[in-house]
C-alpha cells in the first residue's frame, strides 16, 4: 500500500554508514536511485525490506534506512519470495550482482517469475566478479575475457533480458548505473508494478574494467525507439535479441493478460 502523505527526501532513506565500494563504482549511483525512488513513492521506511545475496552490490541494503538482509550467495530471490508471501504488506526488493543472479542463483529466476510475487528484482550487472577480484561472470563478453585472459573465453554470455523475457516475466526494464534519474524512474515503475518486476542495470567495475568504463557505457547506451510499445512482446523479444544497450521499459504485461502468459515465445 503506497500512500503519499508528505514529501519525502531521498536522504531520509540513507543511514550514516559509508559504503565499502571503490571510488567510481556503479553501485553508488544505484544506492542513490533507490533512495530517490523510495522518496518519490513516499514509502514508509519500515515498510521496505531489501534482500540481497553476496557480492559488492549486495552490500546495498546495509546503507539504506529500511529493513535489509544481506543473505548468502545467489539466494536473494527465495528469501525475498518467502518474506513477501508471509508479509504482503511490505515492499520487498531483491538485489544483487550478475554472478549472484545469473550464475549461482540463476535456477531461482524462472521459478520466481512463474510464482509472480509482487517483488522487484534489481540486478547490478557489471559483468565481473569484483569481490573475488576480477573473474569473468556469466555476462562477461568474449572480447573482454580475451583481452584480460579470463577463464571461459568460449562460453557464450547470458542475455539477461532475453532470459527473463522467455521465462515469462511481466515487467522488464533496462537501465544503467551512470543515469541516476533513469534508474530511479525504472525502479519506481517496477515497485508500482503489481507482480514480479525485473530490472537489468548495466553497471561498471572501475577496478577491474578500468576508469574509462563508465564513459564507454554512457556512449553505448541509448533510449528505446520512440515508437516502441512495451506491451508488445514480439517487439520486446526483438530488442532483447538485437540491442543490448537500449534503456527503458522493455516489456510490461498488462494486468488483463496475466492469464494467457507466459509461454508466448
Amino acid at each position: 500500500m503506497i500512500t503519499q502523505t508528505q514529501q519525502r527526501k531521498p536522504i531520509e532513506y540513507r543511514n550514516e554508514l559509508n559504503p565499502v565500494w571503490c571510488t567510481g563504482c556503479g553501485d553508488y549511483g544505484v544506492l542513490k536511485s533507490f533512495t530517490r525512488a523510495f522518496a518519490k513513492l513516499g514509502l514508509p521506511n519500515e515498510r521496505i525490506a531489501i534482500i540481497s545475496g553476496i557480492g559488492c552490490s549486495s552490500r546495498l541494503p546495509g546503507y539504506c534506512l529500511t529493513y535489509g538482509f544481506n543473505t548468502i550467495h545467489g539466494r536473494s530471490l527465495p528469501i525475498a519470495t518467502g518474506l513477501k508471501t508471509a508479509r504482503s504488506d511490505l515492499t520487498v526488493i531483491a538485489c544483487g550482482g550478475d554472478g549472484d543472479a545469473f550464475a549461482i542463483g540463476a535456477g531461482h529466476i524462472p521459478h520466481a517469475i512463474r510464482r509472480n510475487p509482487d517483488i522487484t528484482y534489481f540486478v547490478m550487472d557489471n559483468s565481473c566478479y569484483g569481490l573475488t577480484k576480477g573473474q569473468a561472470s556469466p555476462t562477461t563478453s568474449h572480447e573482454f575475457k580475451e583481452m584480460k585472459g579470463l577463464i571461459g573465453i568460449d562460453e557464450v554470455p547470458i542475455n539477461p533480458v532475453l532470459f527473463v523475457l522467455s521465462c515469462g516475466a511481466g515487467f522488464i526494464a533496462r537501465t544503467q548505473s551512470g543515469n541516476m534519474a533513469h534508474m530511479a524512474d525504472m525502479l519506481t515503475q517496477a515497485i508500482q508494478y503489481p507482480g514480479f518486476a525485473f530490472i537489468h542495470c548495466l553497471s561498471v567495475c572501475v577496478t577491474y574494467q578500468g576508469r574509462e568504463i563508465q564513459e564507454v557505457l554512457d556512449q553505448k547506451c541509448h533510449p528505446l525507439p520512440e515508437d516502441y510499445n512495451p506491451s508488445d512482446q514480439t517487439q520486446a523479444f526483438n530488442i532483447a535479441r538485437k540491442d543490448p544497450w537500449a534503456l527503458g521499459v522493455i516489456y510490461r504485461r498488462g494486468l488483463e493478460a496475466t492469464e494467457e502468459e507466459p509461454n508466448a515465445q
Partner: protein, 581 residues
Amino acid sequence: MKQKKNLHMALVGSGGDGVMSTANMILRTAARLGFYGMMTQSYGPQIRGGESAAHVTIGVDPVTQVGFEKEIVVCFRFSDIARFTKELKVSETALVLHGKEEGELPESLKTKKGLVMPIPFQEILDSEGLPEIAKNVVLFGMLLKALDWEIKEGEICVQEVFGRKSSAVISSNLRALEAGFKILGSITLPFGLPKPERVTKRLSISGNEACARAAIDAGCRFYAGYPITPSSEILETMSRLLPKVGGQLIQAEDEIAAMGMIIGASYGGVPSMTATSGPGISLMTEMVGLASIAEIPVVIVDCQRAGPSTGIPSRAEQSDLWHVLYGGHGDFPRVVLAPTDVKDCFQAMHRAFYLAEGYQLPVVVLSDGSIGQRLEIIDLVDTKDFLKPKRCITPPTNNGAYRRYDLSLQKTSDWSGVGPMAIPGTKGGMHSIAGIEHTETGTPSSDGDQHEAMNQKRFLKLKAIAKETQNWHSCFGSSSAPHALIAWGSPAGVAKEYLAAHNHTALFIPAILNPFPMEGLKQFLKGRKTVTVLEMNYQGQLFHHLKALGVLDGKAKSLRRSGGLPFKTRELETMMQGGVV
C-alpha cells in the same frame, strides 16, 4: 478362544491390490473400537505395480512395534511373498489367506497348526457384479470376520472412507464388504483380542501427519518444501491444513529455495518450517548456517532415509545425526530433537517451535522414515501444557541504530544470548542484518574480536537451552539394574520391548540430542556395570558423539547396524548377548 494382547498381521500384494488401504481401514476400525495399533509399509522402488506389504499390529495396550510373527497373513499372489521373507514369519497357528493360484504353496506361507485358505477374489467380484477395485473392501470384510468384529463397524468405516464419493460407489463397497464378511463362513480363529471395555477417542495418524498437525498447533503459519521420500506427507498435510488457519505454503524449486523461503518468512515474523530427507538436508546446510548466524528462528524436520546420496529413499536409518549435529562450515549453534514414535512427534514439534522462536536459531527435528510413514493409533494429545513459542520482539527504544545483536547484556551472568528482534514493518526499528559476521547493529565486520564476541553470544543460547531442557529424556527400568541401554529415535520402541523381558537392563532415551541432556545421562549411568548405545547406522554416530562429550567410558559398547529393516526384538537380544564394538 485364546485371548492375546497383541495381534499381528501382514497383507502382501502388488500395486492395485489395495493392501495399504485395507490395512488403513483395519486400523481406523481398531481405533474406533478402542484398540491401539500400528501399521508399517514396505515396498520396493517401483512407483506403482511393485510388491508391497502392510504390517499391522493391533493391541490392547499402546503398540511400540509391529510384530514379526504374524497370526493373519493375506497374500494375493504366491510370487508376492518372496520379497518379504526377511520381514515376516507365519506363526504356527496362523490364518493364511491367499489368492487362487496354480502351483504349490510357498514354504514361507505354510503353517503347522493353522489354516490356509485360497480366496477366489475374481469369482466373488464376478458373482456380485463388483469392479476389480473393490477387491480391497472384500478383503476388509473377510478380516473383520476373522477378527470377530461386527459388520456394522465395517459399514461405518466404508461410509467414512468413501463418504465423499457417489452413493453408487458407497453402495457397491458396502456389497463388497458384505461379500467378504460372508466368505469366511463359520471359520473361528484360535485366538482373539479382548474387547476393550472403555472406548476412548483415538487418532489413527502417521508420524509425518503428526509433525504437520503439531506444527500448526504450535503456531507455524508458513511452510516451504520440496517433495522427497519419506517426508512428502508433511508437505501434503501442510498444503491441506495451512490454508484453513490462514497460513501460506510454497512448493519450492529445490531444498535450497525451500530453506530460503522459510528464512524469509520467519524474518518477516511468521513462525516457519520445512521438512526434508537426506539429499535435501545436505542441500539446506548452507542456509542452516545463515539462519544461525543471522539468528532467524526456523524448524526443519529431517525424516531420515537410508544411506548417502540417493541411498534407499523408502527405508529408514539414523545416519544423518552427525550431519545435523556438525554439518555446515563455521561454528554455529543449532538444536537437534529426536522423537521416538508418532505420538512423540507432537511434543517434539511444539518443543521445536518453542526453542526456535524463543532462542532465534535453527531447530532440527530428527525423525525417520519409519516414524514418518507408519500409522499409529494414539490417544488424543493434550497440548495445553506444552511449551508455548514466543519470540523476543522488542520495539526500538533509543534514537540510535537498532541493535539487533545487542551485546550489552554480555556481562550478565544469566543472559541467554537472545537479543531484540524488530520485524520488518516495526516503526523506528529499521536495521540491516547479514549472513556476514556483523556488529551489534548488523553491519558487516571482519574484526576477530567482534567475531569471537558474536560466537560467544550465539553459543550462549545453547547453554541456556541446556539448562531448560535437562529433563528432556526418559528413563525406564530399575535404578539398580546393572546394564544400561541408550536408544534414540525409532529404535526406542524395540528397546522398550526388550526391557519388558530383561529387568536387569535399564533404558535411557534422550528427547533432545543437542544440547544433550548430560546431567540426566550421568545420573542414569551411576552404578551401572555396562553401557550400550543402540542405533541404526553403520558408524555408531550417537555412540561416538557421547564419547566425544566424555560421558561414556572406555568399556561402553556400540550396538549398531545399517538401516533398511527395523530392529526386531529377537535381533536385539542376540546383539545384546554378543555385542559389537
